[in-house]
Amino acid sequence: MKIAVCIKRVPDSETRVKIAADGKSLDEAGVKFILNPYDEFAVEAALRLKEKAGSGDVVVISLGPAAAQETIRTALAMGADRGVLLQTQGFHPDGLETAKALAAELKGAGFDLILLGKMAIDDYNHQVGPMMAELLDLPCVTTVAQLEIAGDKGTAEREIEGGVEVVEFPLPALLTTDKGLNEPRYPALKGIMAAKKKPLEVKPTAPGPGALEILSLTLPPERQAGKIVGQGSAAVPELVRLLREEAKVL
């Protein structure tokens, strides 16, 4: 089974966002970067499918700065076989351009499955996977929380409002993964040592400029500190009165 996993280097979810001097981007000083949590589910799914098949090739591909090599090494330490960095400079807001660059790398390479996290926790674009599927003309299921592959067919479950969709698709296919699909493994020391020797190819890449222009990145308006209505259950009638008469939400 030949599987490609597209991953992204993102700021840790506990990051306190500071705006850079240009007023349009994140001030990265002191920010810790991690493998996008949703991509961890994709890496784990790929490794389990390879293990179940008994053989295969799991390639992790990332579009990003030189520092994304560390992110790729994390996935290699989990057990992926090799990595490719499509090395770029600067920040690319247009998900379609990212999808085009990744699709160009994967086109015709004979992957049975292409996996990505359902979204990246930095730009929240939530689009690169299905865009790639469209560009590569692959069947695609997004936000997969349960997955069975049998031969050249797959069944996936994805959460929708008020229920779960059960979806069937043929391979090759592209899937995006949601939390709940699996418990990603932690890289063991042995894996971390092995990862250093695994192949990691770096390809300078220049995505197109796209059609989106960032005008500003700002902090959301601070919420005004509210009031403590009172202590314990005695305060509940007053809370309900305030919700009705002041906030007018009941």
Partner: protein, 326 residues
Amino acid sequence: MSDVLAVLEQRDGAVRKVSHEVVTGARRLADALGGGARVDALVLAAGPVRGADQLGGFGADRVVTLTHPAFSSYAPEAYTRAIADRVNTGGYGAVVFAASATGKDLAPRVAARLGRPLLQDITDVSVAGGAVIAIRPVYAGKALLKVRVAGSPAVLSLRPNVFTPVQRPRAGTQESAAVDGSPGRVVVKQIKPAPAGTLDVAEAPIIVSGGRGLKEPANFKVLEELAAAFAGRAAVGASRAVVDAGWRPHADQVGQTGKTVSPTLYVAVGISGAIQHLAGMRTSKVIVAINKDKDAPIFKVADYGIVGDLFEVVPKLTEEIKKLHG
């Protein structure tokens, strides 16, 4: 042409409520584009759709139902083709989706097929110098990105619960057309419904959310009872800590690795207020916090707080809410 196409959703042959928000947002965008821009509402279904006749009330000039036997449920590939064809022949200035589970899957495919960028999950839209400008929360709402789209059409999806439906009556002329072609390779075999009466946190107007302060999974019963008291308007949410502990399903998680929500009322119970949780719910219209720790960070974003034992406060609140709905 700067007409706007609003792509709506139906389930079981009825227009989904989130579609009213999409028509409302599309109407707003059409008016901002000016020049008498029209709103066409598009529904894909296997046959006539209940509620399509009400869409004129929210500002649709025309309601077009595209029918195909495969459209009884979501058929991603056939939907994509039908919508992209419609956009190409209709010459629209903008295409608007809901950033729902289906919309977030469909909008990127349509955008890629059109070769256009997508502004996913936006919370505001405007027009300046003829160009569409949108605001998108990024980093789970810790920052807001303001983006301008060059060229046309602009493809957008609207965060649920943000574009409050407004009555803006227009003609809402009904049309219907059958489309043919392959149903596609990806097939929805079934929808397993959630237990009756449960709402999704992403779309619920009221969310009652619990954290580690609940102490054990069975205690979420007190929150379920409170949610039930809101007579079908409330969903139960959860913090990352309790989802990671396996107490609640991931579908209920609010925060940076869960859902970013904007309900009218968010009640945080036994949730301390980690930064990644606050990011996911700070755009709620009104926030209530119930926590025994008066120094919990959640009180810094809450409009109203009660310091106390949730096991006493919440049942009392349930009782009071029941009185209102009684």
